[in-house]
Each structure stands twice: as C-alpha cells, then as structure tokens.
C-alpha cells in the first residue's frame, strides 16, 4: 500500500511517466473494455430482492443491511420488494414444497441479467431437513449462481460469498483455487457467464475426469479414494 501512496504522490507532482504512469492509470482508471465495465457496474450496484424465508433471513437480508455488516459498502443496499426491479435473489432459508413454485415464479419475474444466491445449507441442499416437506436444494427448480454454506452462515460469510459473486459477474471467477487444489488439467467453466456452455476443452476434461473416477485402475497412482 505504501507503494500506491508513493505513486500517488508522484502523480500529483507530475513525476510519473512511461511505464509507471501506465501502471498507475491501470490501477486507478477502469479499462474501457465494455464488458468489463459492464460487469463492474453490475456487480457493484446490485438490487437484491427482499426475500427471506426462514432463519437465514434474520442474518441476511435483515442483519446484512444493518450497521455492523453493512451491505451498502458493496453497493447493494437498495433492496427492492418487487421482483421486476430486482436483479439478485438471495434464497435465505428452507424452501418447502409449498413455497417452491412461488420462488420459481418470483425468479421468473425477475429480468435478465439476474443472479441467485442460495444462502445456507437448507436452500443449497435441503440442509438438515431431509424429509418430505423440504426441497433438497433449490438447484432442483431454479439455477443458482452461488451457494453459501452455513446454518445460518455468518453475515461475514454472506458478504464473502457476495464478493465472489461480484467477481463472477465481472467475468473473473478465478480465486486462486486452481493453485490451492492443484487443479492441473481442468478448466474454468464460468468464463462465459453463469449459464454458458462449457468450452470444448473443458467438456473434454470433465469427461476424462469422470471416466477416471469411475474406473480406479485408470487413475495414475491407484484409486483416488486411497
């Protein structure tokens, strides 16, 4: 950070030039690739839908917009009650079988581009309620862009998920997980957007991986479960 301060001082003095100036401009000014700018604008001005189902609703949206875990810092404080005006729905809580068609209708009423966050274990996968009354994951009836685990997730966890969603919207979903999980030979799917088709290389790599995990003899070094 000290570097940035020094370069800001130099800029003000008119001392930066050449490469340093270019780098400084890059840091401070958004590059004019149109999609990038669009992604940046969309991600920093989300209009979430005021939609709370159950316990997670007390942590978000209600607790998120309050002063301690301020959602307004991320530009998303304009919670909208009408789905026509919202572009993000946070499924906070368990989706019961009676509520599922209602949620789907709400999601359909939202206009593109729209994103869905499944907050908490219950909407991601049914949570602890593996029974007749809860839909085992909202994935079953609507596309979800981001899952946040927790029961309920802390507001900080939701904010972390939200920043990941922002990056995803900006077209840059890579969070360094490739290095962390040694994901050589795989490819990101989401580069083209949440509902794009995978690139042919990615599809081939996934097929390969599926084939390998099904047949333990094929995996170099033995079964992956070992």
């Amino acid at each position: 950070m000290r570097e940035r301060q020094l370069s800001a001082r130099d800029m003000l003095r008119g001392d930066l030039e050449g490469e340093e100036l270019e780098r400084y401009v890059e840091q401070k000014v958004v590059m004019t690739k149109f999609e990038k700018m669009l992604g940046w604008a969309r991600s920093n001005s989300m209009f979430p839908l005021t939609f709370g189902l159950a316990c997670c609703a007390i942590e978000a949206p209600i607790s998120l917009v309050t002063a301690r875990y301020d959602l307004a810092r991320f530009g998303a404080e304009a919670l909208r009650a009408s789905p026509r005006q919202a572009d993000m729905i946070i499924l906070s809580g368990r989706v019961s079988i009676k509520m599922a068609p209602v949620v789907r209708r709400l999601y359909d009423q939202m206009l593109e581009p729209k994103w869905a966050i499944s907050m908490g274990a219950c909407s991601s996968s049914g949570g602890m309620f593996s029974n007749y009354a809860v839909v085992q994951g909202a994935d079953k009836f609507m596309p979800i862009d981001l899952h946040i685990p927790g029961c309920p997730p802390r507001p900080e966890a939701v904010l972390y998920g939200f920043t990941k969603l922002q990056r995803k919207i900006q077209g840059n979903p890579d969070q360094g997980w490739r290095q962390r999980y040694d994901a050589a030979g795989t490819e990101e799917w989401a580069r083209g957007g949440p509902r794009s088709e995978p690139s042919p290389e990615a599809a081939a790599a996934y097929e390969e991986a599926r084939r390998l995990t099904r047949d333990p003899d094929q995996v170099p070094g033995g079964s992956i479960r070992a």
Partner: protein, 439 residues
C-alpha cells in the same frame, strides 16, 4: 375500550402487579388528526354512500416485505377496508416434527431450535425440559441459572427483532438499525458462550453444554448497564411520535375474553389486561427466585402491545442481572452418565466414561415409554412441547404448541373492519414468526 383493568385476579402466581398503562392513555385522545382508527371509529357504512361497492379479493404474500415471513393473506377488500381475511400458511413447513421422530433425543435439539427461529433458546428449553421430565432428571442450580440468563437474553433479542421490523413496517425506519445494533451485542454474547450466533445448541438434556467462558460476565455486565439506556432512547423515539401513535392507538383491539377463547397468550394477552405469564404461574428454572414484574396493559391496542414488550425488555434485563449476581457455583450439567455426556477429560482415564460416551453418541439414551407436555413462556406466548416416548432411543412424537400458530387465529378479529394499513400494523403487533407457525 376505556376500562382500566388493574386486574387482581386470584391466581396463585404471586405478585402480578404490572406496570400499568398510565392514566392518560386509557381513552383515545385527540392526537393530531389521526386519532382512534379502530373499528368503532373507522368502519365505513356502505349503505350510507352512493358508491357502488363490491368486494375485491386480493392476495397479499407469501412474498411481501411486510408480512414478517412467508405468510399469505387472502383479503376481501371493499376499497381500503378489510371485510374478510384468511391467512394461508404452510409456506415454510419443514416437517420438523416428522424429522424428529427419526433422530436420537439429543439430535432433536438442533431440529427444534429452528422452528421459531428468533427465540431458539426457548425451543431448546421446552424440549430439554420435557425430556428431563420424562427421564426425571434434575438439573443442577448453576444450569438453571445459566438457562434463565440465556432465555431472558433471547427474549430481549426477540423483542429487539420485533421492534426493529415492526417499526420499519410502520415507517420508523431508523429503528431497525438501532435495534439491530443491540441485537448484535446479544449475539456476540451468544457467540462467546456457545460458538454460534444463532441456533446455538447450547441447552442439553441435563443442563447446558458448556460453562460460560472467562470474560463473559464482564461483557454481560456491560450489556446490562447499557441496555436500559438504549431502551429509554427507543422510547424517546417512538413513545410520543405522532405517526406511530396514530397508527397504533386504538388499532386492533380484541376483547380479553375473546383472546382467551382463541387461546392467545403472551404479550398480546397481557396487553389486553390479563396478567397471565407462565413464568409466574408455573415455576420453572430459576424464575421463582427472581424478582420481576409482568407488564400488563389496559386497552389491548397496538400501542399497549408495544409498551408491554418494551417494558418486558427492561424486566428481562433485571432478571439477567439478578441471575448473574446470584449465579451459583457448581456443575453446569447433571451428573447422570446415562443421559449426559461425561467430560472429555475423563475419557482417557475411565473406561466406564468411554463406554457411556460411546453409547450416548452412537445410539443415544433410551427413554421409557410415557408422554409429557411441558410449556414455557416464550416471547410470543405459551410454547409447549409434547414428547411421546416409546422406550427406544428416538422419540415417537414431538409436537410443539407454537404460540404464533395459535395467536394467528386472532388476526382475523384484529384486522377485519379496519383499513389495509391497519392490517399491516396489526400484523406487526401480532409478532408472528412463520417458522414457528409452520414448523
């Protein structure tokens, strides 16, 4: 509507002297233009007008910013006047009661916590208390006091959430931020003791799962010192606010007898003048040793309900303080290894503890056949838990008598004949939590 119900009913619950509604508010005063908007003053006589009126049935919810959860209301409107009202619930029905039948007793605790998701300690207490009755287990005094402290903190938490969201519905938007600021302090305390902000799984059959950590008492005392000041600030903001008064005074009055018929309990009943509180009526936990009052209203309108709940917050702070001052030393959970996990330090030295631990964790304890109904006073009313045991390690039936479920039946009486805006105000003052309604 203006009778002063300084009731002194002869029930054996001890001093039920309330903080009665001060005299000036008995009769609806003229406060600005929007005085009593209750049914008596607000009902419009359709025959008098010459406008063609017809009933319009509209659907409010289940997704609606002001319905406090996924409640669907099918209302018959005549203009802005509500003629009939039908609540449709079940949108967050989670089948918790059925799931509980396939879990060991201690695994049921996280399930039932999530019913009424704002007052989770109360559900834990109802269930643990019921099972303790079933197995006839006595909890040590320190556990009783700790449970009382956390229950009252949860009561304050629930009322803060209520106040923030209801004031938000009525237009006092900044109350949300103030109330949730305090709520975050309570959640910090919960997190300190139990590791999680909500749904802490802190109560276990036999006591509490862990003792309070160092530093908890200091932080709690800070909170106790600060909370009455904050409540005073909330009252300053809302008590004499014209808009708030005109939206709540005289709104949603239901006569006391009708409320009793409908099975309504909790602050709704107390605001109507009936000093019925299970903490005083049935002795449980450490309440008999605490000195506290029950706020009782007079008229039973929205304003009374607000005052009763705010006064309850102050009383809860007093209870917490007394419980903290009188917190006895000793074990925080019962000793009976048949039902309670042994401390981990013993597991490496005692074979018996290891066996007990193993049995309890894998199969759980068996409870002899029997049934018990145990109820406590939750922030919304009487929360009862019925546990039917059949001799195995899993309960055969767990049923919760949820106060919001029963109180919702009063909503029709409160809202029919008033305007839509009053209906929203009534819904706020009713304080339903749909997780409890739907279970």
């Amino acid at each position: 509507m203006a009778e002063h119900q300084n009731t002194n009913s002869s029930h054996a619950g001890g001093a039920a002297g309330g903080v009665p509604h001060s005299a000036g508010r008995g009769a609806p005063e003229h406060i600005g233009e929007g005085a009593a908007t209750g049914p008596a003053a607000g009902a419009v006589d359709p025959a008098a007008g010459s406008v063609d009126t017809e009933l319009m049935t509209i659907n409010i919810g289940p997704h609606h910013p002001a319905t406090h959860g996924v409640l669907r209301l099918v209302v018959d409107l005549e203009g802005e006047l509500v003629r009939d009202l039908k609540p449709v619930i079940g949108y967050v029905h989670t089948g918790i009661e059925k799931s509980c039948e396939s879990q060991a007793y201690w695994k049921v605790i996280p399930f039932v916590e999530r019913m009424d998701y704002v007052s989770y300690f109360f559900q834990m207490e109802a269930f643990c208390g019921a099972v303790e009755r079933l197995v006839e287990l006595e909890i040590p005094p320190r556990a009783r006091y700790l449970r009382t402290i956390f229950l009252e903190l949860n009561r304050i938490h629930s009322h803060l959430v209520w106040l923030g969201t209801t004031a938000l519905d009525l237009g006092a938007i900044s109350m949300l931020w103030y109330c949730f600021r305090e709520r975050d302090k309570i959640l910090d305390l919960f997190e300190m003791a139990a590791g999680q902000r909500m749904h802490t799984r802190y109560f276990q059959v036999g006591g509490v799962i862990e003792d309070i950590p160092r530093g908890f008492e200091a932080k709690l005392r800070e909170f106790i010192a600060e909370m009455p000041v904050r409540v005073g600030q909330y009252e300053d903001l809302l008590d004499r606010n014209e808009v708030f008064l005109s939206r709540t005074k005289g709104v949603g009055v239901v006569p006391r007898e009708r409320l009793l018929e409908l099975g309504v309990t909790g602050p709704l009943l107390r605001a109507a003048g009936e000093p019925w509180d299970l903490r005083k009526a049935f002795d449980y936990l450490a309440y008999p040793e605490m000195d506290f009052k029950i706020p009782v209203g007079t008229v039973g309108d929205g304003y009374d309900r607000y005052r009763v709940r705010v006064a309850e917050m102050v009383e809860s702070v007093r209870i917490v303080e007394q419980a903290l001052d009188g917190l006895p030393e000793g074990p925080f959970i019962a000793d009976d290894r048949k039902y309670v996990l042994p401390p981990r330090s013993e597991l490496s030295t005692s074979m018996e503890s290891l066996i007990h631990h193993f049995k309890l964790v894998t199969e759980g304890y068996r409870v002899e056949a029997g049934e018990v109904y145990y109820s406590i006073e939750s922030p919304r009313g009487e929360l009862g838990c019925f546990v039917l045991a059949d001799g195995s390690a899993k309960p055969a039936r767990v049923h919760f008598r949820d106060p919001s479920f029963v109180n919702l039946q009063a909503f029709r009486d409160m809202a029919v004949g008033t305007y839509v805006a009053d209906m929203i105000a009534n819904l706020g003052m009713l304080d339903p939590i749909l997780g409890g309604v739907d279970r």
